[in-house]
Point group: C2
Chain length 217, copies 2
Amino acid sequence: MIGSEADWIAGTVPVTSSNHIIPARRTICHPKEWSDFIPIICRGWAASSVTLLDGRRQILSFLLPGDLVSTACLLEPMSGRTVEAITDVTCRKFTRNDLKAYLFQRPQLLEKLSKTWVEERTQADQLALDLGRRTADERIARLILSLAERLAKRNMVSGQTMEFPLRQRHIADATGLTPVHVSKVLGEFQRAGLVEINRRSLTLINEKELRRAADWR
Amino acid sequence: MIGSEADWIAGTVPVTSSNHIIPARRTICHPKEWSDFIPIICRGWAASSVTLLDGRRQILSFLLPGDLVSTACLLEPMSGRTVEAITDVTCRKFTRNDLKAYLFQRPQLLEKLSKTWVEERTQADQLALDLGRRTADERIARLILSLAERLAKRNMVSGQTMEFPLRQRHIADATGLTPVHVSKVLGEFQRAGLVEINRRSLTLINEKELRRAADWR
DNA sequence: CGGCCCTTTGACGGACGTCAAATAGCGTGG
DNA sequence: CCACGCTATTTGACGTCCGTCAAAGGGCCG
C-alpha cells in the first residue's frame, strides 16, 4: 500500500473501520447495497463494473491496493455498481458519516479530495475515448500499460514483470470486447514479442513497441 | 434556464462573472486553457469532447442551458477537454477562486455539489456501458431519449417535439459511430415511425417503441 | 450562381463477434 | 497420487455489424 492514491485517507483518518477478507470471485459490494460503508482495498485486485439484465457487463476500473472504490461516492451513496474480488481481497470499510464529518472539518483534505476527483474524471474521459474510438489492439495495449504504471507506483513491479491475476474475460469486460478476441490479440502481442504472460504474471518485453501499439501520448 | 441542474450555483452565487456570446461551431474552451474560469451555458447547445491527434473524437456530454461544463473542474482545473458551441451559445464565466471561496463557507452547498458529482459519475458510467456494450441502435435511441428527458426538465419540449440542433456527426461522435452509420440508423428509426427529424427539430412519434429499442430500463 | 457542409444511398471491406471443439490449468475429493 | 469437473485459453471457420469509399442530391449563405 505504498504510494497509492488513497493514502491520504487510509493512512490518516482515525475513524471506525472494520477489516474484511473476501475470497476471489466473490462480490464485495452489490449494486443496491452502497449505503453506509465505503470500502478501501488493502490487498489484492478487484473490479468495479456495471451490468445489464442480459448479462453484458462493463468494467469501469480495476481496484488495486490502496484504492478507494470511487471518490464520487464518498459523500453521497451511489448505486448501480458491483465491486467484485478478482484475487482474494482484504479491505477495510469506513462508515460514510464518520468520514464525512471528519472531512468537513479539514478544508485541505477536501482540496486533496477534489484533486482525486479530477483524476478520476480524467480516467473516465479516457475510458470513453478508448471504448468509443480506439481499436481492440489499442485498448488492450493501453490497459496493460496503465496497469503497469499503477503497479509501478505501488512498488508492485520487479524489473519488467508484475503479478497479473486478470482473466481474459476481465480484460474483455474492461475493453468492451469478447474473451475470444482478447485471446487473439494477446496471442499476437506475445508472438510479436511485446509482452509475455504466464502463470498469472506479465512481463513487458518490448515496452516501446507496446506503447506504439497503444498510441500512447 | 428553468429547473436545470446548475441552478443552485448560477442562480445563487453573487460572484464576479462575465457574459459571452459564442457563434455556432466555434470552440468555447481549448484543452489547454482550463485555467481560471468556469463557464456555464445560458443559452444554446454545446459539446464537451476529447480528441486524438489523428482526429478521432469522442463527445463526453452535450451541454444544455444551465449546465456547468463539469463539476469535477469546479475546484481544480482540468485539462484535455474541448468545449464547442453547436448553436450560438451565450455563456457566463465565473472565476474559480471566487467560487471556491464562496463554496467553502457554505457546507450545504458542498453537499449539493457532491450530489451533482454523483450524478455526473453515474452518467459517465452509463456512457462507458453504452460505448463498450451496446449496439448502434441502442446507443442512438438512448441518446435521443436522454436528451429528451433533459430538455423536458428545462421546459424545452412542447408536446412531443423539441429543438434538436445536433448534426449527425455530433451524434456519431457521441456514440462512437460514423456519420454514415448514424444516418442509416436514423433513417430506419424514421421509417419505422419512432421519431421524426426535420429542420433542426425532433418529434417523438412512438416513444414506447423507441424505449424498447433503447433497452430503456 | 457557386461553394460548402450535411445527408442519403449503395457497394464493398474489415474488425470483431459467434460458435464449436480441442487443450490446458486448477482446485477438490477420492 | 490420480481422477474429476470446472473454468480458462486457444484456434479455426464463419457471420455480422459497422466502417470506408464514392457519388448524388439538398440546404444555406455569400
